[in-house]
Amino acid sequence: MSAPAATDNAFTGEIAKPNTAGIWKIFFVLVAITAVEFAVTFAMEAQSVRTLRNSILIGLTILKAFFIVGEFMHLKHETKGLIWTILVPSVLLVWLLVALVTEGSFIGETLSNMFS
């Protein structure tokens, strides 16, 4: 959305009624997701379900990010070009993260097996 054009005179028109129901809905969605994240963290503490738990937590985090970026930052309602401009480089970040986390596991393994 482009900015409204500047006018020389101060604004003197009627002030519209606030329309905030949608904003509060997103707020409650974010609070609910955070509560679920919290519950999952403490409900699945066993070692055997760690990977599953972390996958759920990361999934919920991305869902939260979707609501914040899409609705609060209004990206969902921008042009397709702008959406892709922001999303594509961010996806490269995820690649970097996955690659280096895997690398970290290998380094740790190599260091702990160095003398055996």
């Binding site: 959305m1 482009s2 900015a3 409204p4 054009a5 500047a6 006018t7 101060a10 604004f11 028109g13 002030i15 519209a16 606030p18 905030t20 904003i23 509060w24 997103i26 707020f27 974010l30 609070v31 955070t34 994240e37 919290f38 963290t41 403490f42 503490e45 066993a46 070692q47 738990r53 937590l57 990361i58 919920l60 985090t61 939260k64 990010a65 914040i68 970026v69 609060f72 930052m73 921008e78 042009t79 070009g81 702008l82 401009t85 922001i86 480089p89 961010s90 970040l93 970097l96 993260l97 280096l100 986390v101 895997t102 690398e103 970290g104 596991s105 380094i107 740790g108 260091l111 702990s112």
Partner: protein
């Protein structure tokens, strides 16, 4: 939009007519103003900074060993990476009560709420409602400041440490944390805590400064005279980004 009254001479022939193709300039492919677009690109570059921090965290964490026993039998050791809810389990005014991640949850709520008040300020700006913009900016400043104070308390507690401390290799019991020693686990755990939450806190602080400036400008009627409240929107983008970063820090540093 609203540019129907530009003073352009009537073209004598089609040759004189301004070129309006996609690559001839003068149009907005992204339908976003210059300022907002630049804010988006800045935030993208900032996302790379925080992405680098979180990637570093992930790599270093995976390099270290994991505690493999029962969660209830966990104790601090430099051998393995600490379980976060055993580190961050204090709540202001509750002494030694064990409230795993309670305070962090509260901080998260405060920041999400400040994000909502920020959207409400932007919404009020669209309606040119100066009073509402002021009101919601003040709420946002308040919650941002509370978050900063909470983080200061969290740091203080992390630095002072838990009562029991941890037996170090040289036989002494060490409490708390600094950049070269800590009672919670590997040295890098505390370093990463200071760098990641510190960098995020610095962003919140800059955000609060911008919001205070924005509140003063709103009160002075700067935006009203300008005819739009786009500055509130741009600062709002920054503020939501800071909230977004916290969402990721919360998951990767405190939950998993």
């Amino acid at each position: 939009m609203a540019q129907t009254t530009t003073l352009q001479p009537t073209a004598a022939s089609t040759l004189d007519a301004p070129r309006t193709g996609n690559w001839d300039g003068g149009n907005e492919p992204f339908k976003a103003s210059y300022g907002k677009l630049m804010m988006w690109f800045f935030l993208l570059s900032d996302a790379f900074t925080f992405g680098a921090f979180l990637t570093t965290y992930g790599m270093i964490r995976h390099k270290h060993e994991v505690f493999t026993g029962e969660a209830s039998a966990f104790h601090f050791s430099t051998k393995w990476w600490p379980i976060p809810d055993h580190v961050f389990n204090a709540f202001p005014g509750m002494g030694h009560a064990n409230v795993p991640l309670g305070f962090v949850a509260l901080m998260t709520m405060i920041l999400i709420f400040s994000s909502v008040t920020m959207v409400l300020a932007v919404e009020a700006g669209h309606r040119m409602d100066k009073k509402d913009v002021q009101k919601w900016l003040l709420w946002t400043i308040l919650f941002g400041t509370i978050f900063l104070l909470s983080q200061a308390w969290e740091w203080g507690h992390f630095i002072r440490g838990h009562e029991e401390g941890t037996l170090m290799a040289d036989g002494t019991v060490f409490h708390g944390a600094n950049l070269s020693m800590n009672q919670y686990g590997p040295v890098l755990f505390a370093d990463l805590f200071f760098f990641i939450t510190g960098f995020h806190g610095t962003h919140v602080l800059s955000g609060v400064c911008l919001l205070v400036w924005c509140f003063i400008a709103t009160t002075n009627g700067t935006f009203e005279k300008r005819g739009h409240y786009e500055m509130v929107e741009k600062i709002g983008l920054y503020w939501h980004f800071v909230d977004l970063v916290w969402v990721f820090v919360f998951t990767f540093f405190y939950l998993v």
